[in-house]
């Protein structure tokens, strides 16, 4: 019946109309995705304009952040963002690498899936949970047991000693880095695992055939083959660490200064915004915070775009869950 109806001219034109409408709707939705990114950049620039116009380049080079005198400089949050993210990656990369190795090369088949799922669940836990856990559980532990030890043993060292001096606050740059590293481990290890799984078996078997140990196959066959993907995964983790807000806000102490010690409180771009935005009085204050957001957008966009370009080569199938 439908086959006959389809030949009827009126029916056919109605079909064509629906076809065009549906095609159009999907296209508009796809364009909307494109427009989102542009819209975000544009809106942030508009919002940041008053502050950027007022402080010019001084916004990037000044450490002063004084809402009372309305003088704002972004150096302390920039410093905090970069240092916490760097330290977080320093801690997270080896652990993520180990997890990826364990999941792809060592774990028996029956163990792979449950552990893989458990690590992915760690990625699903919202960041505010890491924050509240970091503040009430991790910070006191670090304050009582880890930081006094760091101060005693690393504090007197030349060159790096000043990084570990001062009172053990519990909260601060180091604690924030620690929480961040726990947060990015699931992301980095998931990408690394997916990348390792793209290594052809025949390459690994050739290595084993030559008498290599498991580790030698990993280090000399798997890692070189997967190098771009590994770097891409690490940069994806970096993008996440740079922009992470709630977990950091809880434990960093929110002090707009650049302390010489890693144990001292500091702030990051996102923590400053989250903490102060709702209470910001005056257009210049709000605009300065949005300027911080624009800065964060610029940094994370660069990092994420680079990461995505590196991962693109691998094809999208392998990375469907990140």
């Amino acid at each position: 019946m439908n086959a006959i109806a389809a030949i009827e001219p009126a029916h056919a034109s109605a079909q064509r109309l629906r076809e065009r409408a549906f095609h159009g709707a999907t296209f508009v939705a796809a364009l909307l995705v494109l427009g989102l990114l542009g819209g975000v950049a544009f809106a942030l620039l508009i919002g940041a304009w008053p502050a950027l116009g007022h402080f010019k380049l001084g916004f990037l080079t000044s450490q002063v952040w004084n809402p009372v005198t309305e003088r704002f400089g972004a150096l302390a949050p920039i410093y905090g963002t970069l240092v916490t993210s760097f330290l977080a990656l320093l801690l997270a990369i080896p652990v993520s690498f180990g997890i990826a190795i364990f999941l792809t090369e060592m774990a028996p088949v029956w163990l792979k899936r449950p552990i893989g799922v458990a690590i992915e669940l760690l990625a699903a836990v919202p960041s505010i949970i890491y924050g509240i856990w970091g503040l009430f559980v991790l910070a006191p532990v670090l304050q009582r047991h880890v930081q006094p030890w760091l101060i005693e043993w690393l504090g007197p060292l030349p060159l790096i000693g000043h990084l570990f001096q001062g009172p053990p606050y519990g909260i601060g740059i180091l604690t924030a880095s620690f929480v961040l590293s726990i947060m990015v481990i699931p992301f980095i290890s998931a990408v690394m695992r997916d990348v390792f799984e793209t290594v052809p078996d025949v390459l690994k078997e050739s290595g084993y055939g030559l008498g290599a140990t498991t580790w030698e196959v990993i280090w000399q066959v798997v890692v070189p083959y997967a190098r771009t993907g590994i770097i891409g995964g690490v940069m994806l983790g970096l993008g996440r660490a740079l922009g992470e807000t709630m977990a950091v806000t809880f434990v960093i102490g929110n002090a707009h200064r650049i302390g010489s010690s890693l144990l001292a409180p500091g702030t990051t771009i996102s923590a400053a915004i989250a903490n102060e935005f709702a209470e910001a009085v005056g257009d210049l204050y709000t605009s300065a915070l949005i300027a911080l957001g624009a800065l964060l957008f610029l940094i994370t966009f660069t990092v994420i775009a680079a990461a995505r370009l590196m991962l693109m080569r691998l094809g999208r199938k392998a990375l469907s869950n990140v």
Binding site: L31, L32, V33, V125, I128, S270, A274, G293, A305
Partner: protein, 282 residues
Amino acid sequence: MSRRTIRKLINVTALGLSGLATAIGLFFLGAILWTLLRNGLAGMSVQLFTAMTPPPGSSGGLLNAIYGSVVMTLIGILIGGPIGVLAGTYLAEYGRTAPISTVIRFVNDVLLSEPSIIVGLFVYELLVVRMGHFSAIAGAVALAIIAIPVTVRTTEDMLYLVPQGMKDASTAMGAYQWRTITSVIYPAARSGIVTGLLLAVARISGETAPLLFTALNNQFWSSNLAAPIANLPVVIFQFALSPYPNWQQLAWSGALLITVSILVLSIAARFVVSSLDAGGRS
């Protein structure tokens, strides 16, 4: 030591460290869940679900915050879900090979990883400044924007899995492409699309940063979408950082509620695929 022994030793050490790394990852997952359970269960009571957020010192619950979170998450997925599915459909079907699709895929991947606080600031500029005040609808829009890239990605991936033969069969019957997509491809990819939507809901229901500048908070019951609304993440944020023990207790209970719902959603999303697929085949 012979060279052979050294190589074996390095091998055992490296693999041992990998196992240790995995143990560390699992340890932190366990530690976080255990803390949540211990502190959160202590505050579980009927009152949690029937009373409003209290002033410091008196007892209360989280009813208005739970309601606000559910409402904003639902509106968020109702806005973001269809847009995401349609855009994913364009990328997988109509525009599969179009040059613009390459750009859109790339932009979508970037959006997927952009910090959510940026989205909050965007919606603040877009809606809150225009309306002159914080509102539930602004919060829902922020959540929708976060849900879109997740849905686009999963929808596109899932539509690729539908066998070409099924599409060809439909086209051969004389069906237009919209008919093929809605009557053949969507049903075939149903479980995958539902999984994507569930993952998107899991993702947005714990988001805090974007709500700080859009929905803000409200100490009282509010069902007005144009007014600030209470929501679990922001309540947890404010209560946890307060010096009042009863507020901190509520923050822990709220944290447990959110985490359990998200973990259940994430695990459910994994099972939807297998169960719906099995149902479709039998």
